[in-house]
């Protein structure tokens, strides 16, 4: 038999002025199961709480209803009070008779009547409340960072700084990511390599950081604090532990006609290669698609010259399994493929390049040693046209609907650098809008226009046509002057939209995190939880979450690290006990609940059940991981049999409230 205590708060006059609290207390005192019903001036005060605590002890209460302000305000207060008096905190229900009654109604009679009904609903619910215990789940003290660009590096360094072990998984032979390919950074124009490479070295030398380069995540199991991740270390045919990075093999390799990815295919590398001089780890990798030895079995030049015997043509992919408490996704971005943009002649003319290609063309370690030359004839360009928003802010299926955010600034940077270094070169920039919200950004852009005389033209380039004389005809409209323009340019630079890396989507599936339609990872809350994914224990760093420039990326990377550290410092995590649970006897194993769960909290197990005819049979049933479930209840409605229910907000509890209200 239930013994329920009802406590009606006056909240000074906040409630008592419009609601006849005495009547409420008296009426609720007659409800079935209610053994004590009291009113008090301030129930949340020390003495008010003592009233509740004493009543719990004195009457051996099995449930408490507090008619007071919103549960969002003091539910926790009264739960703690109940717990202190030895009553399970989840046996407390609040009837909101302030915000949702006394404050919005004027007539005392009707407001009192409503307060009574709300109180009855709470009493009806508390009859069905079950004591709940928050579970605990241990936390593995190790973090995984997926992606070794500046975002991943920064996150890893920050986590390592806090004293936790971190693994970086990078799919390329070296960490560094896109930033390593960039020449200078806006708005300060300092050299990207000069600020990035020390961080790469720091990461490689940090005792807490392990770098798995040329590796991929192939499987993720588990949940917050307790992930088990399988990492594939792809065969690089060079023993990482032996290779000293001397580079002799790359010189001796006879196969030198391999497009160099690092330089965007603008020059060639050898079949065995180290992506760039400051690569971390500085270890050679054999490209089996080009290596003569691997293809024909005849060569072995690298093996012969390697004094430490690091070459291993028979190396296999290796899989390692590791437990992590937290995972940070930092998979970054790529410029989109411009194959579909025939109007810009990107595929027809070598002198139409992307901005990232331009970075390499201008970089001292690039194909031309830092001198800006046309890829076609290695001559100096005198007229360069920049086209903005190529595939960004695009309604059609070729492009992306969003703004890629970084293009306006890097184009201003390119324009400025070119005008600085080659004053005889004319630079045109065609834009839709120039967007420069950022510290010192607009000043930077204005310097390009005012100080460096870059021609900014509002309008879109309609057609780019390579001419037989080597010039490029750029046909465009000047929207402000309302005229058509023809520019005979030497080079055209396209600010290609950026998109999330292709590896992001399969990864999101493995991590059971959400992505938007553009494949950017979705943050748990767009304002308040921008670096957490909705899946507990998975954090987001850098451009995988949305287009970002370097400072923003680094800021977010550190923020993600802070969130991860916040998790890793705990020995265990307390779970919200108001989670879903499945009645295995009723579960059909149909997977509906799993499909609507935003957290991947539901898995299926085959379990043996005793059947009505006294045989046993294997049945597939849902199992909710209480550490992962956040208690939204989506699954409870998806479940046709009602096997899935939610603690604290069960079907019967809600229906009891409905009944009480409609009585």
């Amino acid at each position: 038999m239930q013994r329920i205590g009802v406590f009606v708060c006056h909240c000074g006059t906040n409630i008592a002025a419009t609601v006849d609290v005495k009547t409420v207390a008296e009426t609720l005192g007659h409800e079935p199961g209610v053994v004590i019903s009291q009113d008090y001036q301030y129930m949340c005060s020390e003495s008010g709480q003592n009233l509740v605590k004493n009543a719990i002890k004195e009457h051996n209460l099995t449930g408490v209803v507090v008619c007071s302000c919103s549960p969002r305000m003091h539910e926790n207060t009264f739960r703690k009070a109940a717990a202190a008096a030895g009553l399970n905190p989840y046996l407390v229900e609040i009837a909101n008779i302030r915000e949702q009654c006394s404050w919005i109604h004027k007539d005392i009679a009707t407001a009192t009547e409503k307060a009574v009904i709300l109180g009855k609903a709470a009493v009806a619910k508390v009859h069905l409340n079950a004591p709940l215990t928050a579970g605990e789940s241990p936390v593995a003290k190790r973090a995984l960072v997926i992606g070794g660009g500046i975002a991943g590096i920064q996150t890893a360094l920050d986590i390592a700084e806090a004293g936790f072990d971190v693994d970086i998984v990078e799919k390329n032979p070296t960490i560094g990511g896109k930033m390593a390919q960039i020449d200078k950074t806006f708005p300060t124009l300092d050299c990207a390599a000069c600020i990035l490479t020390p961080k790469m070295v720091e990461a490689s030398q940090n005792e807490h950081i392990t770098i798995h380069s040329f590796s991929e995540v192939t499987d993720v199991k588990g949940f917050v604090g307790n992930f088990t991740v399988t990492i594939k270390k792809k065969a690089r045919y060079v023993d990482e532990t032996k290779c000293t990075g001397c580079g002799l093999c790359t010189e001796k390799c006879p196969m030198k006609k391999v497009p160099n990815e690092f330089n965007m295919g603008l020059d060639n590398r050898s079949a065995i290669y180290i992506p760039f001089a400051q690569a971390v780890p500085k270890v050679a990798t054999i490209d089996p698609n080009y290596c003569m030895m691997m293809k024909t079995g005849k060569c072995g030049a690298c093996s012969k010259v390697c004094s430490v015997g690091a070459i291993d043509y028979k190396q296999q992919d290796k899989f390692i399994e590791q437990k992590y408490g937290a995972i940070v996704v930092a998979t970054g971005f790529n410029p989109i493929n411009l194959d579909k943009y025939d109007e810009f002649a990107y595929n027809q003319c070598p002198d139409v390049v992307t901005s990232l290609e331009l970075e390499r063309l201008m970089n001292a370690a690039g194909p031309n040693g830092g001198t800006l030359l046309r890829p076609s004839d290695k001559t100096h360009p005198h007229k360069i046209v920049f086209v903005q928003c190529v595939g960004s802010r695009c309604d059609d299926s070729k492009g992306k609907p969003y703004c890629s955010k970084i293009c306006c600034m890097y184009t201003a940077k390119h324009a400025m650098l070119i005008r600085e270094k080659y004053p005889d070169t004319e630079v045109y920039v065609f834009y839709i809008d120039v967007r420069t919200p950022g510290k010192n950004f607009d000043e930077f852009y204005r310097r390009a226009v005012e100080q460096y005389n870059v021609h900014y033209i509002k309008g879109m380039v309609g057609k780019v046509t390579p001419r037989s004389d080597g010039k490029i005809d750029v046909q465009a409209s000047d929207l402000l002057a309302n005229e058509q323009l023809h520019i005979d340019a030497d080079m055209v630079v396209l600010a290609a939209a950026i998109e999330p890396d292709k590896t992001a989507r399969p990864l999101a599936t493995m991590l059971t995190t959400q992505m938007d339609t553009n494949d950017f990872f979705t943050e748990a809350h767009p304002k308040l939880r921008p670096v957490e994914s909705a899946t507990a224990g998975i954090f987001l760093s850098g451009a995988c979450q949305g287009p970002k420039d370097i400072p923003e990326t680094v800021a977010q990377a550190s923020a993600a690290a802070a969130k991860a550290i916040g998790l890793l410092v705990k020995n265990s995590i307390t779970c919200n006990p108001c989670v879903a649970h499945s009645d295995e006897l009723m579960c059909n194993g149909c997977s509906s609940c799993e499909k609507v769960c935003p957290y991947g909290a539901i898995t299926y197990i085959d379990k043996e059940f005793r059947m009505p005819d006294r045989t046993t049979a294997l049945r597939r049933v849902a199992s909710v991981n209480p550490a992962v479930c956040q208690g939204c209840g989506a699954c409870t409605v998806a479940c046709p049999s009602g096997a899935m229910d939610l603690n604290g907000f069960s079907n019967s509890q809600i229906m009891a409230e409905v009944d009480a209200i409609c009585k």
Binding site: H30, P32, P612, D659, K663
Partner: protein
């Protein structure tokens, strides 16, 4: 015999309905016949039988038994029973008429079901002889003559006239009450019609179905028969057979919380349902096989065992045409019989 011309049926119905409530089989929009409270202009269905049986008059699908009114912590018990008024059910077929006898054996035996008795006492059952039995009919198997139905009074059509015959005092009272509309008539044509009907009955596909091998003494032979598995394997466990059956009489008693009180009501139950006779310890018949067996053992063995050999089936054929998977008592009887 007293008769009335068929084209004067309207007048007859008006006259009956003037003094008490009259129910007749009438066609509803989807073509099926059902008992309806007579209203002016309503036509008697020419269907062989109603889709639902006539048992609803005495044993409705749901019935309130008692109310509990709750005020705070007090509970008042309120008797919601209402005295039934006199009513006439017209056009009941021989099979359904016999079903009342079977139901009586259950509900009028001690302890008498006063709810049932009340309605039974106030009713007059006027039956009507069949002239066009269907292939699903097998009332003859249970000794019922479709051309000579029981009931308080019976009537017979020869195609032009309806002849009346009283079987008891109640029936006589009914005929007396309408005697002003009746006249003495020649039954020679009627005798022909009845003869023809009996001929047809003999030709029906199930005419030779016999109960000889069934009865109260057959428990051991059939309970463990290995046929049950095969017979019940396609059973969906729905309640169609039970709910269209004129003799199925199982019910469940339930409480419904209205928010301001409890309504205790009874409603039809079906032995085919998984929670049939479920008790605190669980369910005595865990598998569909056991539940399926219960239904047919009850009709063919248990019921006759407790009721002087009377079977719990009247051969109306409703389950034969309504079972979603066409499994029925006839198939069960034939399968069990084969040894």
């Amino acid at each position: 015999m007293l008769k009335i011309s068929l084209d004067k049926l309207d007048k007859l119905f008006e006259a009956i309905a003037a003094s008490q409530t009259l129910y007749i089989p009438a066609d509803r929009e989807d073509g099926a016949a059902e008992y309806r409270k007579y209203e002016s202009g309503m036509k008697l269905s020419n269907k062989l039988n109603t889709l639902r049986s006539a048992k609803d008059f005495f044993f409705p699908q749901t019935e309130n038994l008692v109310d509990f009114k709750m005020e705070g912590k007090n509970i008042d018990v309120i008797d919601v029973r209402e005295e039934s008024e006199d009513f006439v059910i017209f056009g009941v077929r021989a099979c359904d008429a016999r079903s009342f006898t079977i139901l009586d054996k259950v509900f009028l035996a001690e302890p008498v079901d006063s709810y049932y008795k009340n309605r039974r006492d106030h009713s007059t059952v006027v039956t009507m002889a069949c002239t066009r039995p269907a292939e699903t009919c097998f009332c003859g198997t249970f000794g019922i003559d479709a051309s000579a139905p029981e009931g308080d009074a019976a009537c017979f059509s020869d195609g032009e006239n309806l002849f009346f015959e009283a079987h008891n005092e109640k029936g006589q009272k009914f005929i007396d009450s309408i005697s002003s509309l009746l006249e003495e008539g020649n039954t020679s044509k009627l005798d022909d019609v009845r003869e023809k009907t009996r001929d047809i009955l003999k030709k029906l596909p199930l005419a030779n179905l016999s109960t000889d091998n069934f009865g109260g003494d057959k428990l051991n032979e059939y309970f463990n028969s290995d046929k049950w598995g095969e017979l019940s394997e396609s059973c969906l466990g729905c309640g169609t057979c039970t709910f269209v059956c004129p003799t199925c009489q199982c019910y469940d008693i339930k409480d419904f919380n209205t928010g301001h009180g409890i309504k205790r009501f009874r409603c039809w139950d079906s032995c085919m349902y998984s929670d049939f006779t479920k008790m605190a310890h669980g369910n005595p018949r865990l598998t569909q096989l056991e539940r399926f067996r219960q239904r047919f053992m009850h009709k063919l063995v248990y019921f006759p065992a407790n009721n002087n050999g009377e079977f719990g089936c009247v051969g109306c054929g409703r389950c034969l045409s309504k079972c979603p998977i066409s499994m029925n008592i006839v198939k069960v009887m034939k399968a069990l019989e084969v040894k």
